[in-house]
């Protein structure tokens, strides 16, 4: 009950601000803490601002005041005291909020995921003690609700920043350093994350999808992701598969269970199961997939995927193959 009550004013204030990438979603422990702390700050700073405005209005509109110096001096001391108390309150509240977030879900074993950022996509690897159970994917993160996830953050090139506003604060991915970000998702839903540190030409197109799911759904997803790519049965898809393996595609991309083992581009083993392609740039669809493969530079100029020369027929075959990779 108390939790509901404490959330109400926040919801009231920020109800117009919901969205898959909005902080006010409060779908993770971190963003909930943010919303509560923000409310406290708004109250304290709001009162300060109101005081300033009142004083200003009186000063501008009021009559000349005689013998004001002494009164003003005491007012100044009071103002200094007010500011000091306010700042101390806010600093202490921040400190405790920070510690509360650090302790959230500490008693649970976190899910461990390594995220490697590159210009302009996200490589995601779910860790497991058993190497055969490691899941590699790209640009999409699935998380079980209520369980902490420890994101180990590395960069393959420049500084990026991983940020899922609906769930938690951000953390940078810095070449030469390893950073950690612990998130505890608290509400099932679909959210969006985006790179939050300017990383070059297509920084604006470096997003990723986040699905917070029930533990059962997550387990099902994870199990499916562990499977290698299904063999194509359809002739079209088979042609596409063969074309893929014998051309440039296989040099950069990997598809588990096939000869394609490139590591410089997103893993495509289950690409057709994803919500978006090109790191959140286009929704996954037949047309978009074809458009992307045919002309990546048209969609995302500067992306490291070259336009591989292929006929319309070859394009259709390859796309058909990729569509089987659910």
């Amino acid at each position: 009950m108390r939790r509901l009550l404490s959330l109400a004013p926040v919801l009231l204030l920020l109800s117009g601000c919901a969205g898959a990438q909005s902080m006010s979603e409060g779908a993770g422990f971190g963003s909930q803490q943010f919303n509560h702390l923000m409310l406290l700050f708004l109250v304290v700073t709001g009162i300060s601002y109101a005081l300033v405005l009142v004083f200003l209005t009186v000063a501008v509109a009021g009559r000349r005041n005689e013998g004001g110096e002494a009164r003003l001096r005491s007012l100044l001391i009071g103002w200094v005291g007010f500011i000091l108390i306010g700042l101390v309150l806010l600093t202490v509240a921040s400190f405790f909020s920070d510690r509360r977030e650090a302790r959230a879900g500490a008693e649970q074993e976190p899910l461990k995921v390594t995220v490697s950022a590159n210009q302009w996509w996200w490589s995601i690897e779910y860790q497991n003690d058993d190497p055969s159970r490691v899941v590699r994917t790209a640009n999409e993160l699935h998380l079980p609700v209520g369980r902490p996830v420890q994101l180990n953050l590395v960069s393959g090139d420049v500084i990026h920043s991983l940020w899922i506003p609906a769930l938690a604060g951000k953390q940078d991915l810095i070449p030469g350093r390893e950073n950690d970000l612990r998130i505890v998702p608290t509400r099932i839903g679909h959210y969006r994350g985006q790179c939050a540190e300017f990383c070059g030409l297509q920084h604006a197109h470096m997003a990723f999808d986040v699905a917070v799911e029930s533990p059962q759904n997550f387990a099902a997803w994870y199990a499916a992701q562990q499977q290698p790519a299904p063999e194509p049965t359809d002739a079209r898809a088979k042609a596409g598969h063969d074309w893929f393996m014998s051309h440039a595609c296989a040099n950069c991309h990997s598809i588990a269970g096939t000869p394609a083992g490139g590591v410089t581009a997103p893993d495509l083993t289950h690409v057709a199961s994803r919500q978006t392609i090109a790191a959140g740039t286009l929704p996954m669809s037949r047309g978009n997939l074809r458009g992307w493969i045919a002309n990546p530079q048209g969609v995302k100029p500067g992306a490291h995927m070259p336009a591989v020369g292929m006929t319309a027929d070859e394009l259709d075959a390859v796309a058909s193959y990729l569509e089987t990779l659910k």
Binding site: S22, F34, M38, E69, T91, S94, Q171, L201, H203, A204
Partner: protein, 642 residues
Amino acid sequence: MTASEHPDDTARDGPELDGPELDRILSETWGDKAGLIGWLTTVDHKRVGKRYIVTAMTFMLLGGMLALIMRLQLARPESGLITADRYNQIFTMHGSTMMFLFAVPVMEAFGVYLVPLMVGTRAISFPRLNAFSYWLYVFGGIMLWVAFLRDVGPDIGWFAYTPLSGPEYSPGKRADFWAQMITFTEVAALAVAVEIVATILKQRAPGMRLDRIPLFVWGMLVTAFMVIFSMPAVTLASSFLLSDRLVGTQFYNATEGGSALLWQHLFWFFGHPEVYIIFIPGLGFVSAMVETFCRRPVFAYPVMVAALVTIGLLAFGLWVHHMFATGLPRLGYAFYTAASMAIALPSGVQIFCWIATMWDSRPRFEVPMWWVVGFIITFVIGGLTGVMVASVPLDLELHDTYFVVAHFHYTLIGGAVFPLLGAITYWFPKITGRMMNDRIGKLAFVLVFAGFHLTFMTMHFTGLMGMPRRVFTYPAGLGWETLNMTSTVGAFVMASGVLVFLGNIVASLRRGAIAGDNPWGAASLEWAATSPPRPYNFAHIPAVTSSTPLWEESLPVFSGLRVKQRELVLTTVVEAVPDIRDPSPTPTIWPLIAALATTGLFIWSIFSPWALVWGAIPVGIALTAWFWPKSPPRHGREPVIE
């Protein structure tokens, strides 16, 4: 040594040599040659200050136009108006132009123009260095803009984080132009800072003790020291970057022992004080205007001075708050949170004191005071959102979002540009001899104020809705469309206000009411000079007995300076007791030549490290010629610097 008997040395100002005759002689001594030669060789701080102001305002307009293009692009999702590459250059140029080519130079410009007048002296302390610094500044700005217009402008953000700005990820010369622009502008800014410190500490009017100097002068003193201690950081950082890019050093390369974070530490060690370097002179403007229009000194002068000094010191302890997301130890962060919060205290105190001054008087709300009120209403919001981002848990969400964009525009525009526009209106009569139009001034204020809040208040929400910074576009469906369109509309409203303000300047230059020496009835010494001031500022060196000299019964003056050669008086540091008659340097072309040689050195060194060797030779020659005495040995005559 016996005193010189030469008539040029013995002719001194005083009761016997006064009025129009004195003006004629002093004008000849302190004036420039006519025409282009005079313009190129002048060392008059007022002429140099004016060109600094005009140049800086021009860059402001250029930077503003870039902002309008950005807003047009962002008005709609995936608008496709401009390419990603072009946008990245534009936002880099917007930030770099505003921060390095407009905001700091314009504040320094007002310092250069006003400080000698306010402290009652005839010239700035190192007049040729002053001229040199202007040329270096404008040449650096031109270099950057030419690069941009030729599509080799920097595209790495005004903060140029490594390794993105390093040789591997920013090939070509784009980043080098940015890094070298830093060198140009920082050398210029450092030169001016040195002049300001020396002028304030050594050239004050007799009797102008430290507790009698105008608050604006205190502000400029604190600012100058901040420049001196912070700018070496960015110069070092950008030199390391240039060196990584040109000769293969590894300062920022993690694979060879370097560190991307080294850049951030060095840059922000400069970058945080930088914003206070911009902001503190603005506070000085406000103090000057409040004093005049309330017709009383600002409430609690010693507290105001303490606040300025505290802000200046604290500003150096905050820089890590730009790095809260980089994964440094949490305990260390706590210190920077505390310091970042603490700086709200002296700022809050100053706000109180200004309002208290208004409360305890009958303020006249001329246009400059409109800008002061606008400043209070706006800047305080920025200060309060600053308190928010000082908190680590809040900052980890808000960092690198449009919330921060809103925060710093509230503090920079509210805290520096609003006072600046008020200051321009306030000192326009002194600089030009004419008043700006009142009604147009009020219209400009309303448009700028309304447009500003429409643009930037909205951005707080855009940030809270999850829109990151520095993105050339955004997808539909996240709820950002209306917010962005609103900001774009606001930006154009604001721009129209700026145009009205400019139109007021242009019209008033021709048709403004004649101002007279002291149209506002102000108290500080610059208003004792004519409007515009004579080349020599004051016919006789003034002395002061209070902090409001022009509100006293009369103005004491000293006689006895040479009139046939340039001379001013140096006084002691604390008590301002007259100490030495110092000759002041005459006009010369050598600062311009030295600046050209230095420009050559700097630009060449973008392309070759040998420039540092060979390019140094013309610079050495120019500097030697600059300092070499041009007049024959004096042999007992009074000294000159020619």
